[in-house]
């Protein structure tokens, strides 16, 4: 295979793996919210929802790695290894590439902390995992800013679909209706301690 052909292959592989990464990341966020909700999915008990979330995220890592490796190897993209991990230093497009690098960094942090979950404890794990809600928007902005296919209909359609899915689910996550299995109130008909102390102090 000629070197020109290899370069072309790398270029196409780089772009396509980027798109796949974004789609996978969208699914990971969706599955993450589903996991947190404690709900079952069709045919999937809760532990399976959690497991699929984990598998999808590892798959996303694979495609993200492919995306970064092929693009750094590809001469046309002018991407240096360093710029793939240290944000905002690249030429051209420091902002858009930088957002991609930031996503990668966050992804590494999320994956590593999740693999070491039992060691680092729930509180530390949870604090870092919130970064997922920054990761996804960074990835989307990176796609829009650097994407060479951004003007094609299928790409726009894909982006719209992903954005719709995530905003919808995050909206649900933030709503008061997101009462996951764990947020059960005690169903007590007794006033809470605070109310009791409050009414006592007001002489009621």
């Amino acid at each position: 295979m000629s070197s020109a052909a290899i370069d072309k292959a790398l270029w196409y592989l780089g772009r396509s793996s980027g798109v796949v990464s974004l789609v996978l990341l969208t699914l990971v966020v969706a599955l993450g919210i589903a996991t947190r909700s404690g709900r079952l999915l069709p045919g999937l008990p809760r532990f399976a929802v959690s497991a699929v979330h984990r598998s999808a995220s590892l798959l996303a890592v694979v495609f993200l790695t492919l995306h970064v490796v092929t693009l750094t190897l590809d001469p046309q993209s002018q991407l240096r290894w360093l710029d793939a991990v240290v944000p905002f230093g690249s030429h051209p497009k420091p902002l858009w590439i930088g957002l991609g690098a930031a996503s990668l960094d966050l992804m590494v942090a999320l994956v590593v902390t999740s693999l070491l979950r039992q060691r680092i404890g729930h509180r530390v794990w949870r604090a870092t995992h919130w970064a997922a809600y920054a990761l996804w928007p960074f990835a989307v902005l990176h796609t829009i800013g650097t994407g060479t296919d951004i003007h094609s209909a299928w790409m726009l359609g894909l982006l719209a679909g992903c954005t719709l899915m995530v905003t919808g689910l995050v909206g649900w996550r933030l709503s008061t209706r997101f009462v996951d299995e764990a947020d059960r109130t005690a169903g007590t008909q007794l006033p809470s301690r605070e109310t009791r102390l409050l009414t006592a102090s007001k002489g009621l």
């Binding site: 007590t188 007794l190 809470s192």
Partner: protein, 427 residues
């Protein structure tokens, strides 16, 4: 008939002569000079000698569990890290007042004891965890005076316990002193190994420490001359309810419980039942109480325990179910709210009991539901709040079985409107 503890204290003649915590007079020894006049200084004792005293005297904990002090000391001594000692005077139990009495009238005995255990464990930090009704400023001044007089080689910090039933639970104490909320924590290791800020910690009830301070002065043999061979020494009890002179009494272990009531000038009316050990304790019928002794081993056969020395007498004319219902509602509210079974179960149980006690159509179903839910909550929590509460309830349903039947038939034997069991600390 509410319980008043502030002024009335009693001790039998022999115990007065023996001269334990109350001694011949219950007058306050908060002033350092009064304390030194009454008791003298603590003789010089090294770490090993303190441990020896704990072993030889057989001193056990007076916070309710009755665990031998020397075992706790040994555990802390053996653990890795610089030790911390804590005097636990939280007394979250509304019906108990002995710890407040000690900190108000005999604080120096408590603090002497705290220094002794600090020496035994080589502790570098000491804390006085005090009931919220005690004034921190007063205690701090007291400690400053002791420090100036050279009585406290290890400096003591006063921490106010929050106004909550479970604030005195060992892991809650440790948690609060470490800087977080006074909530029970999951026990991944014993507090004696990893307690306050991860260091080996000795948490000891204030009465235990006060007794140790007396033992250091008068010897283990003196302590053993009261009480029984397997339960030596004296203990404080808070006696209330249908007695003529409610208050704090001191008596030797093994004393017949009828004599304990006599120290409170006896029942004020015909008794139907007595609550022993507090709101995590056990109800006994008046007859059972009259024939029992203040002995851990004997009471165990009745499913009871002296606990932290709470005795509340229930006279005829009060309804045991109504009293229990108010307490169960209180206990449900006092759940730390951390553990699902307790948070969900106790309020439901309290509501079922309420429906039976107040004739809101509870019926047999409610009684069965209470017991069913009780089976679910016991043993499923970070602390023993659900367990203790169910012990209180179950023993009450046994003792007040006849009252239950009356209620199911739509009646109640209550004639008096007084509230007996407090759900807020009085005075």
């Amino acid at each position: 008939m509410t319980i008043l503890f502030d002024e009335h204290v009693q001790t039998g003649a022999e115990v007065a002569a023996y001269g334990a915590l109350m001694g011949p007079s219950p007058a306050s020894q908060r002033e350092l000079r009064a304390h030194l006049v009454a008791h003298g200084a603590v003789p010089a004792t090294d770490a090993h000698a303190v441990l020896r005293l704990a072993v030889d005297s057989g001193l056990t904990g007076h916070g309710g569990a009755g665990f031998p002090l020397y075992r706790k000391l040994e555990a802390v001594i053996a653990a890795r890290g610089r030790a911390i000692v804590v005097a636990n005077g939280a007394e979250g139990e509304p019906a108990s007042a002995k710890d407040r009495w000690l900190l108000a009238r005999r604080p120096h005995l408590v603090l002497d004891g705290l220094q002794l255990v600090a020496r035994a464990t080589n502790a570098t930090d000491a804390y006085l965890y005090a009931n919220h009704r005690l004034e921190v400023a007063v205690l701090t001044d007291l400690l400053a005076e002791r420090r100036r007089s050279g009585l406290d080689p290890v400096s003591v910090t006063v921490i106010a316990a929050p106004d909550a039933f479970i604030s005195g639970e060992e892991t809650a104490v440790v948690s609060h002193i470490s800087g977080s909320a006074a909530l029970p924590r999951f026990k991944s290791a014993r507090v004696t190994e990893r307690g306050v800020r991860g260091r080996p910690t000795l948490v000891s009830n204030v009465e235990t420490l006060a007794l140790l301070a007396l033992i250091a002065r008068r010897g283990a043999a003196w302590f053993r001359s009261a009480g029984t061979p397997d339960a030596p020494g004296t203990m404080l009890l808070t006696v209330g309810g249908a007695v003529r002179a409610p208050g704090i009494v001191e008596t030797g272990h093994g004393t017949p419980l009828a004599d304990v009531l006599a120290l409170a000038d006896g029942p004020s009316t015909h008794l139907q039942a007595v609550l022993l050990g507090g709101y995590h304790g056990t109800w006994l019928t008046a007859e059972e109480f009259a024939s029992a002794k203040l002995s851990r081993s004997e009471l165990a056969a009745l499913g009871a325990s002296p606990g932290a020395g709470v005795v509340v007498a229930l006279g005829a004319g009060t309804c045991g179910l109504v009293e229990m219902s108010r307490v169960m509602s209180y206990l449900a509210e006092e759940s730390a709210g951390q553990c699902g079974p307790c948070l969900n179960g106790l309020p439901r149980i309290a509501n079922e009991l309420k429906s039976v006690a107040f004739g809101d159509g509870g019926g047999r179903r409610a009684v069965n539901e209470m017991l069913r839910l009780g089976g679910i909550v016991v043993g499923r929590g970070a602390c023993h709040h659900p367990d203790g509460s169910m012990r209180f309830l179950r023993s009450g349903l046994r003792v007040f079985a006849a009252e239950v039947e009356l209620h199911l038939a739509g009646r109640c034997s209550r004639t008096s409107g007084d509230v007996v069991l407090p759900t807020a600390v009085t005075r």
